[in-house]
């Protein structure tokens, strides 16, 4: 960048057309590699989740396999053991209930009626051992929108 103004080299007709093909081919290869990378990553990163009903209907075929299950937290079933950091609760949908055990902190947005995706393994005892909880709460920020609907506070 010693000289931002002058441009060395001017266009010469003729043989240069061949040189350009090399760049087009080279550029295309890079583009294809990036495209391939994105495409394969999409396939590897979409873990669909089951509903409680679907999990029950599949039975033993999903035992000891890593699955994600979505459901609604049942408030009455929440049992939080602060000493052992053990969170036990049930999730449910129209088709049934699923008891879940999770070792870890109780998430901030964990409450009755919240939608949760539990990730982990379904055991033969009918208990789901979760190693990850994702609260599908619309948003922490949404509170603002809900509050605006009820002025007077």
């Amino acid at each position: 960048m010693m000289d931002a103004i002058s441009r060395p080299g001017t266009k010469r007709p003729g043989k240069l057309a061949n040189k350009q093909t090399r760049f087009i081919v080279g550029g295309l290869i890079v583009v294809l590699v990036i495209g391939y990378l994105i495409f394969t990553s999409i396939q590897g990163s979409t873990a669909p989740y089951l509903t409680v009903t679907e999990l029950r209907s599949r039975g033993p075929s999903v035992y000891e396999r890593n699955v994600r299950v979505s459901g609604i937290i049942q408030g009455a079933s929440i049992d939080w053991n602060a000493q052992d950091l053990l969170l036990q609760f049930e999730i449910a949908d129209e088709g049934g209930h699923l008891p879940v055990v999770y070792k870890g902190l109780r998430p901030d947005m964990f409450r009755d009626g919240a939608q949760v995706v539990v990730e982990g393994q379904y055991t033969a005892e009918g208990i789901f051992e979760a190693h990850n909880l994702v609260l599908k709460c619309p948003s922490k920020y949404e509170e603002a929108a809900t509050a605006t609907a009820q002025p007077g506070g």
Binding site: M2, G9, I38
Partner: protein
């Protein structure tokens, strides 16, 4: 007072619409008087929007709860600084802030007119005025910050506790400054297309603005990451959330533009491409707002609103207009935009820039696709399927690594062509340095291949940049016999763009080191402790010393009302007390999701100790999640260095920016 604010915005709409029309017609029909009145109009708009912002600020500070926006975002418990930051806590205020920045920037562009670019400049002002008019229209129709309630409530709702954080004072304004900044490259590009002045003038006009927008947007993103890290309390700074992604995409495109503009300046190449990037960068800034405020693309973790609001349609229509219009113009002008030179050799600086642009656009595409993927599957298959973080790690990660490597190779690549042996001689010491570094790290226990590779690339790039500085320094000393510091100072001062750029690249390496360290070597522990008990994690010992439970701001009830659960921990390292941390959890009982965690962080160059309080029982039994996050502070240090480098590169040289052929200047 609120009515005055509304009146001012209405006037802003009228004046900016007039300015757009006057500048456009004035330039077309060659009537300088009309253009001059447009210019005056734009200066007036800057004054008007400043006044409107002052009115909103006054209403927030008063606070006047009859104004809906004030009622929704302020409570009497709120500290003054957060009453000010409430300005941009909501949608209406954010749009006003954006318009305010845009009006100030436009006024600066008005004052920057040079004799050689009068035609282009007039149309640029027309485009800027048109965009100002759009924002004013949004404010007077669907996003009025001055709307009032039928009655005056005694107390306000208050600010969301998550936004009551220093990060939220600086993050949104910096981001909006970046968004507003990218209007200028867009306006110049469209003006060039409208007037047919398709030489380098428009590029000269935007050079500093595009760097300014790039810097502010980048720092805005980094401040957002910092806010997420200290406030959201899950132990990380980046979650690949749609809202974060949406601000990253224009920044990546903007980075591509910074580099490809050099290609046009130096070699007359990439002319159409530069136009496309300048247009895309701005459209993507609007897209980011669309994601944050439009309610169409929702994330699992945080989307700001769940239903399509009127603003959604305004933004969609406007985005379609400002994307398709310029692209149509670009298509019709394509013949005038042929490159002046050809790419010559595969081993050349040109190839480096080409690869750089493909990689940046590839990264932008990956992040963009990931962001809209749930929406795409909803349209195609009727259900939302989100991509998890592994998608970004697999795509963004490797592409970013190749890009960082390219930073280290490019300075050695000459323009037009580079002989392979010269390239090898230029890089062999750096490669050896990187290899030695990798071996040392391996011996120290770094065994993950990707981490090792990434650290080696960082070492390689650092070595290249340092050797560039060293060569320049030695040349100055040889010729001028200057002392080291004087020589370094003059070296940078005489080649601001070059050495400013190197400093920015060095900052990117620091940020990369922070990202690699914290993504590969993060460690977590769970602990349940009673007061007086200790736990050992990594090099640290934590002693849970004390706790407190208290009610704050109970009357009147607002978002700031809370039960505070606080724990005090003593942090020891090799038997010595290092610091005391207070980890809290607050129950804001008014909120639907009442729990807000306030993490405690002990930061050092080596890494952060990050303490999350999970719960605190009445008897003092507390559950903690303890995280050791290596090298995170390097991210923030890198952000600081990046600002320094960018400001150096932006600093006016005092020699004007006239395009080639009009004034010939040489830059160091």
């Amino acid at each position: 007072m609120a009515e005055v604010g509304y009146g001012i915005i209405l006037l802003t709409l009228i004046v900016s619409a007039y300015a757009a029309a006057a500048a456009w017609v004035g330039q077309r029909q060659g009537r300088p008087g009309l253009v001059q009145s447009a210019r005056n109009g734009l200066l007036a708009v800057a004054g008007l929007v400043t006044l409107a912002s002052a009115v909103l600020l006054y209403l927030l500070l008063a606070p006047d709860f009859r104004v809906r926006y004030v009622y929704e975002h302020v409570s009497s418990h709120l500290a003054t600084v957060y009453r000010i930051s409430a300005f941009w806590a909501g949608q209406e205020g954010s749009f006003l802030l954006w318009l305010w920045f845009l009006a100030i920037i436009t006024a600066l562009v008005v004052s920057q007119e040079k004799a050689w670019d009068r035609q282009l400049h007039s149309q640029t002002l027309a485009v800027l005025a048109f965009i100002e008019a759009f924002f004013a229209l949004v404010l007077v129709t669907v996003n009025d910050p001055f709307a009032t309630l039928p009655i005056r409530p005694a107390e306000g709702v208050g600010l969301l506790p998550l936004l009551e954080n220093p990060g939220m004072i600086f993050h949104p304004p910096t981001l909006f400054l970046g968004y507003a900044g990218y209007t200028v490259p867009f306006a110049f590009a469209v003006a060039a297309l409208l007037t047919g002045q398709l030489d380098d003038r428009w590029l000269r006009g935007i050079r500093r603005w595009s760097l300014f927008a790039w810097l502010t947007l980048g720092i805005g993103i980094l401040l957002g990451a910092w806010w997420a890290y200290v406030e959201l309390g899950w132990g990380g700074y980046w979650a690949w959330d749609p809202v974060e992604n949406a601000s990253l995409v224009p920044w990546l495109i903007g980075t591509a533009l910074l580099h490809s503009a050099v290609m046009q300046e130096r070699r007359g190449l990439f002319k159409v491409w530069n136009m496309v990037l300048a247009i895309l960068a701005f459209v993507l800034c609007l897209f980011a707002t669309f994601v944050t405020r439009g309610g169409v693309i929702l994330s699992d973790l945080h989307g700001f609103s769940s239903s399509a609001l009127p603003i959604t349609y305004y933004l969609l229509a406007f985005m379609a207009l400002i994307l398709l219009g310029p692209l149509f113009l670009l298509y019709s002008r394509r013949r005038q935009l042929a490159g002046e030179n050809e790419l010559e050799a595969l081993l050349s600086r040109e190839s480096g820039f080409l690869l750089n642009n493909l990689l940046f656009c590839g990264m932008a595409l990956a992040v963009f696709l990931g962001t809209i993927f749930p929406t795409l599957t909803l349209i195609a298959r009727g259900e939302r399927i989100a991509l998890d973080a592994s998608f970004y790690n697999r795509t963004f990660g490797p592409l970013a690594l190749v890009l960082v490597l390219l930073i280290g190779v490019c300075p050695v690549l000459a323009w037009r062509r580079t002989a392979a042996d010269r390239l090898w001689r230029g890089l062999v010491y750096q490669a050896v340095f990187a290899l030695v570094g990798a071996v040392i790290l391996f011996v120290l226990g770094i065994r993950e291949l990707f981490a090792l590779l990434s650290f080696a690339v960082c070492a390689f790039v650092t070595a290249t940049i340092v050797s560039e500085f060293y060569r320049g320094l030695m040349a100055r000393r040889r010729i001028g016999g200057e002392g080291y510091l004087v020589a370094l100072g003059r070296l940078i001062a005489r080649g601001r763009r070059r050495y400013g750029g190197y400093i920015v690249h060095l900052a990117i390496v620091l940020i990369a080191i922070g990202v690699i360290g914290s993504s590969f070597y993060k460690n977590e522990w769970l602990a349940s402790l009673r007061p007086g008990e200790e736990v050992a994690i990594g090099d640290y010992t934590l002693k849970y010393e004390d706790y407190a439970i208290e009610v704050l701001n109970a009357n009147p009830e607002t978002y700031q009302s809370k039960v505070r659960f606080a724990t005090t921990l003593g942090v020891y390292r090799t038997g010595r007390r290092v610091t005391t941390l207070v980890a809290e959890k607050n129950n804001h009982w008014v909120l639907k999701n009442p729990w807000v965690t306030e993490v405690a962080i002990h930061s050092s160059l080596k890494g952060d100790l990050y303490v999350i309080l999970g719960g605190l029982e009445q008897d003092g039994l507390a559950s903690f999640q303890l995280v050791v996050n290596p090298l995170v502070s390097w991210l923030w240090i890198g952000g600081g260095l990046l600002s320094v480098g960018a400001v150096i590169a932006m600093w006016p040289s005092g020699r004007g920016d006239a395009p080639r052929g009009l004034t010939i200047t040489n830059e160091a």
